[in-house]
Amino acid sequence: MTAEIEHDDINDLHTEPMLLNMGPSHPAMHGTVRMVLTLDGETVIKVDPEIGYLHRGFEKECEHATWTQVFPYTDRLNYVSPLLNNFGFALAAEKLLEIEATPRCNTIRTIMGEVSRLSDHLTCVGAGSLELGGFSAFLYAIEGRELIWDLTEEVTGARMTVTYARIGGLKDDITPDFADSWRVKRERLLEIIDDVDKLLTKNRIFLDRMQGTGIISQEDAISYGYSGPCMRSTGIDYDLRKDHPYFAYGDIDFDVPVGTTGDNFDRYLIRMEEMRQSIRIIDQCVAKMPDGPVNCDDPRVVLPEKERVYNSIEGMINHFKIIFEGIQVPAGEIYSYTEAGNGELGYYVVSNGTGNPWKVSVRSPSFYHMPAIHKMIEGAMIADIIPTFDTINMIGGEIDR
């Protein structure tokens, strides 16, 4: 009887869903995403994410640039790990040209790619903890990232937007004392990762916010094209570095951490473990760095030595033609994929045989993670949106391009 009355009371209560607009300028929206939420109290009934507030016309710009000029634009896709985007595009163009990078170049690309992945994961974990109220872990993570950026600056000359890769090679060899520099920094990095681990992993508040929130099932993950830490958190060991080895990953021993539940906490743990694995990969690569040239021996794509440019007419013409007309990539199309910080970064590149790409389409991991956000937060509390957004690690430049 009493139960019935209570039930009726609830039915009689005058409630109606409330519309709440989050973003596009919101501190927890990782840049510029707008979410129109329909709320019942504090429960999210419906979510309608709207993106495009950072659309900068990446593809249009690439179509008007030469093949080498595309690299600066790729830097700014996932701006937390620009090197990985660089190498992804270099690989796509090399597949179209049917050339292979030299072993030394491949090893350097592996090292610098993993350095970039460290920066990506540190930022994700640090910013995530900041948005949940843990400022200390953020400061530690940023300290680690500064170390990584120092290393990047030594090698490439820039902190963030590096433009380090070239088709068929690299801008430059790594610095001669890279191994020493890395040895010093890796000790501190491991300390920082341990510190962040201690601050967060067993923290009661952090656990309550992360565990059991933002769950995605295996079927949904496959259907929505998930990849990277988000896919692996559901228990599927889908890692392109293992499944389709590229660069030097084939000869390197590393583990792929896999989650079980597909919730935010699993994604966090996977990122923490991947950082340790990245350090392991870099250690191995530094130990067995092959000698030899960095750029491949192909005058179609690689700029001649400066000495030849200044002292011979052939070298001069070669240099001039590559710079002004661009690298002549044979007509064709390729879908090339690499494992970036957030997941599978694919380039669908179409060439019509001239110095400008006909189309450069990016399959960015974030763009395929975001459409399933309603599966994760509908029915959850409004506070769960923040950790879910953090662990998906939506990057504005990548999703809107």
Binding site: H55, D220, Y224, G225, H244, Y337, E344, W358, F367, Y368
Partner: protein
Amino acid sequence: MSKSDIKKLGRKFRKVVLDTSERLGMDTALIDKDAVREILEYLRDEEKMQYNMLRHLTCVDYLHRDPRFEVVYVLYSMSNKTQVVIKAAVPEDDPTIDSVHDLFGCANWAEREVWDMYGVDFKGHPDLRRILMYEEFDGHPLRKDYDKQASQPRVELRKTERDAIEEFKTFHKQQPEQGSRS
């Protein structure tokens, strides 16, 4: 592995698979656009193939070629670890193709993006709105005949000092031409 898949597909759908190619290690099938749902569903559900993940969906605008557009589906099999590329040609005068949003979840947004950028209409899509541009935007910016710098501001832009400098420059550029004509 996937080579046989693409051949098998060609044998099974002889009428709608127009061409297959294996260039650069990409197993590609060019299909009739009306059969796209049928073929993607077959590739997804067939026991031995299981192309259950749509890696990428995009469109290419081949201006001055008939048919003008090509919608590209990159499919991946999680169990066999293989990839096939399905391409469907879409003509300019009838830029429509069937939506596959119910076969692959991620197709929802990817189709919205293709509609936004190229103006290819996906029949049966539940929510075909612009995704990267804004509602009042006119045209489809990634079409090759859309001018790169043709922006459509939403708000009135202020005049800045740079505008004055540019006006000054263009004025001085025009002056000698007028002089030479007279």
